[in-house]
Symmetry: D2
Subunit: 362 residues, 4 copies
């Protein structure tokens, strides 16, 4: 339903990049969760632009929680998270309605909203709208952590450079939260950063692939049709700007596998049933099997580049050229990682509360 997602834990987004404020309403969180602001701040920091490979706009992202929390404890009523906008240089975006940027939503927004959209900085389509999502996701993730469920996302591939796979999930996930640049292998960071900086120096941008793991999620949750775990996660993840693909477990690699390789053999591990491989990414028939949920997300290169591009002048109905000005990220994948984690936390929390009831996550 438009800007609201979720069955029993829902998030409703609002705001434009250069409007008065952005934010979201998180509804359905259990009462009685004492907020860990340090944890929320840590997640918020990971989304912020910084260093040479990010935009030079310094977003404050100072969030206010204006409802649903009393004495630092969730009340069970809707939690509204607000971020006032500041440091906006709207002049940079003056012509987007007339001269849409290739790869951006300028043209489609104009079609849908008949030119009434707030175009400044991408308006409601801006990646900036993910800032309150991260705060909401942090609240959900904190409650999941208390249940032994951990979620982390790293850059698994960028410009042909590949990070190692998750090994010890909990340790690896913790390590990602401690790093500004989300990779598992220390030596990979420099290579990836260099690749981004090279693209930046050419006025260009890069994309990449993120890999996410959810550990500790109990088996037996999700639905066989429509609200499968894959359906719910993909629904949430595809609303993150720049995401153009998602696959679970072996994913597109299944195309060249045989059933005998693809099936995950079941076996006993003590009293628990586990699978020897995890090609199905922790999900069979839309329902969790107790193994880690794993999926990959592809992030397209940031569409804002400094090279001259072909576009149209809608006011004249003519072809035109565009050279984007202003401040832009040559890559957003390192910042998108925590957004994917946050969206996943919200979705997993929703699935659990649907199954176990409204008080499950307190």
């Amino acid at each position: 339903m438009k800007n609201t997602f979720g069955n029993n834990i829902t998030i409703t987004l609002f705001g434009e990049s250069h409007g008065e404020a952005i934010g979201c309403v998180l509804d359905g969180m259990a009462p009685g969760v004492k907020l860990d602001y340090e944890f929320i701040d840590r997640m918020t920091e990971l989304r912020k632009p910084k260093g040479k490979i990010s935009t030079s706009r310094h977003e404050g992202d100072r969030y206010r929680i204006v409802s649903g929390v009393f004495n630092d404890i969730t009340t069970g009523t809707p939690i509204c998270i607000m971020i006032e906008n500041e440091n906006t240089r709207s002049g940079d975006y003056a012509d987007l309605k007339k001269i849409p940027r290739p790869g951006h939503a300028d043209y489609t927004a104009g079609l849908k909203y008949h030119g009434f959209q707030d175009h400044r900085g991408g308006g409601h389509f801006s990646g900036r709208i993910t800032a309150p999502v991260v705060v909401a996701g942090a609240i959900a993730l904190q409650a999941l952590n208390a249940k032994g469920i951990y979620i982390g996302t790293h850059i698994s591939s960028l410009g042909g450079i590949k990070d190692r796979d998750f090994a010890d999930y909990i340790t690896d996930i913790e390590s990602i939260f401690d790093r500004e640049f989300p990779v598992l292998d220390d030596e990979i960071e420099d290579k990836m950063r260099k690749h981004i900086e090279t693209a930046a120096s050419e006025g260009d941008s890069v994309g990449g692939i993120l890999k996410t793991a959810v550990t500790g999620c109990p088996g037996g949750v999700g639905e066989p049709w429509f609200d499968t775990v894959e359906s719910m996660i993909s629904h949430a993840i595809f609303s993150i700007p720049a995401v153009k693909g998602i696959d679970f477990g072996a994913g597109f690699g299944f195309a060249d596998m045989k059933g005998s390789e693809a099936n995950d053999p079941l076996r006993m591990s003590g009293n628990n049933v586990v699978t020897s491989t995890n090609n199905n990414g922790g999900i069979n028939g839309g329902i969790t099997n107790g193994m880690p949920i794993e999926f990959s997300t592809v992030i397209k290169p940031t569409p804002s580049i400094y090279k001259e591009q072909d576009t149209v002048d809608l006011s004249k109905g003519e072809n035109s050229k565009l050279k984007i000005q202003g401040r832009h990220d040559p890559a957003i994948i390192h910042r998108a990682a925590i957004v994917v984690t946050a969206m996943t936390a919200l979705t997993v929390a929703d699935i659990l509360v649907t199954h176990f009831g409204t008080d499950h996550l307190r």
Copy 2:
């Protein structure tokens, strides 16, 4: 919401593979659409198993439309599609609750339903449940066709063998509907069939990649957050059994592209704005741009194989072996293609009716 999907055109699924009947309720179709039963039958045929590369269970799939249609014209009220089950050999499935099949939902169904699930033939998880989806999708697709919107799905890759890309969309889509095996390039069919037959002769199975195109969809529909066109389509598609990944346009290929390659330049084509490339698969910021919507779906190899597999005996809490009996498809990808088309038709119809109102598709 569990077994119901859609905002304004909804589909609700019911049934078990070896129960009394399977079916669905399609709600929200406009009144006044004269049903083209020949078209529905053609789509239904494409889903049926046949030949050497399919199961030897001959499903009748004779559907009845028991409501919502009067004098062969839709009334605007819910359309219930029923398929009575017949030719069921339940004995084949006797031990699935005790000895779950690797790669199937037997184990997860047991967790979720506490052993009360109808396990015969996969029960509610069976691919057979897609039969009424195809009928519903055919009704939606017929209404879309009348608006100049066409949808087709072909096997783009299987065992390393690749079909050509869509070229002339409408002609190509029509050609798929005329073929039992959905490929664009005549010479590819034999190679793919041979690959499947080889796997079958080894008691094994194969997966592959499907590519879907939607042409004629107007620009400006969809939502920026949560109900993006990608979110809605992926939500629907991931509930098709065996789907483990989806990507739009260049999809996972974006990982190794630069922004200057990835962005689709805009240009005038007569009075229309088009893009020179279609890396974004017809969608920017979650909203259609008027170019063909294109996406790929990966289908994992059929988990039912005839080789001995490792599994567990849940009644004893011990490791066990399993050799599956009965009749099973060595590949389902050629049958899954029309299911993907049907699900896409339902989703696109829903998106259009949400935007243009309930009478749009009559």
Copy 3:
């Protein structure tokens, strides 16, 4: 959402009075509930027309449960309930599209469906569509009973004749299920029946007021805004044909009360908190307080009467006269009572499952 209702237990309706079949899909019932067919049959009987005060159409109402039940036990998957139509005399309804019946939906159906509706017997608007609702409600009610929650509905007022109030709730509710004509006071039945028969003998019809009680529902469920218990129940109840009003507890009587009379004083009863009066009908701020939920529903007189009525001829755009033929109930209130009970059971079950999780009602 159109013909679907509920958050976590949902019901989807389909069918036309004189079409092939009517039915519903009940989704979200817990796995593991052994169906009590005797109980379902008893509820189904109470909805059936019989005797002098009902239509002479003998509806079979033989329901089939075609999915979601295995070995007479719910599986947790969607339960599709089907009733094939039989004994339909469509000829009686030939002119409804041209000459709409006052008080019926003939005219509004034509506006909405542009004349494509199945008009025979009211089509999708027919009270007959409540037959599968009663079956679904019986399944929900059986599960509620197992939790100590009981629901009953009696005729509290008809033609100025008033039944006594609920006294001993559980005994009274049981007594209603044992009576063909749902009143609490034995001596009232004759008077009410006579009133209906008198109206019938004049070719006229009557309405009345139903009172429903739900006992045993735990306190603390429901929502403060939008999905209040009153909102959810009223949403469901207003979709029953002929219902035109609902009030909870003292209801419209509050208009002439003072706060000091209206407030329900709290007091201890052993270790439990109870209220001395129940003017709020068991609900404060949209949330249950543990007292019986009580509400009244007004049923308008059956619009089908045998007196000549003023109407229009839509084919000519002229005023016209109509004398309804065929078989019709002079009152439906005694049959509507069990429908209100069934809808209430479905709604209460949904509210509980939303709060306590999907397995709560097994």
Copy 4:
């Protein structure tokens, strides 16, 4: 869904009476509506407490629209309305968790939220949360007015004193918007005010009945089952605090009518079909017939009274006494009228946009 309501135009509420801020997110409004702030302010004024018959807390209710509006024109994206809380005297409410007020939600909130609710001033249950609803409703109503649809609510009955019925709908509705005290008959105001003042002087409070009319709504919108116009309106209205009943048209009066009196005869009025009476309140079979939609809502007496009341001390599990301090309305019905109008506007707008599409109300 909890604190969100609507199918295609949705409102999501957040906030606590004495928290940082209250507000709502209005999603689905068409782009291109120039906001009439004077109109919004006028509606907001009507909800504010004033004079002898209202609380002496002077709420600023200064709303900010922080998103979804650009250059005073709606953009089509979510409109977030914020009201910062000020002038809160929390000390007055210190014991509500321990000693719940009869007739209030204190006790039920404690059950649902396990004592974690923000109890100050009723928290999320406070009537104050309706302030942003009025702003959202004003935006919807302004768009409806532009389509010739008008909505008004007056006090039809209070303490046995009755206002006259709507006569000339548009003129009458306009007159209500011009009055601080919403009645149609000038001479009634004094009598009703006196009744309220008398109750106030006794430390008591009063309720009453509101009557709402919607004119100009086209026929043929709404749904036959579940999302009937009555279901949708009642769902929304019952979430307004203190509402305990609703009926449409003749409503509970149907109980003592015959079918021959109750049916609304159809007749031609020029080229239009109208009904001679409007007992059905503009709705047949859940669908509008083009006549004014009319319904009555009962408001219970304000539960905050100054008389000593029986209650319990939850900390001791003992009976207790309570004498409420602080500032409270002896009646809220005159302020509730505009809230009912606002909720109705949101619901009617939703029903129209569902039928005619997202751009209908621009």
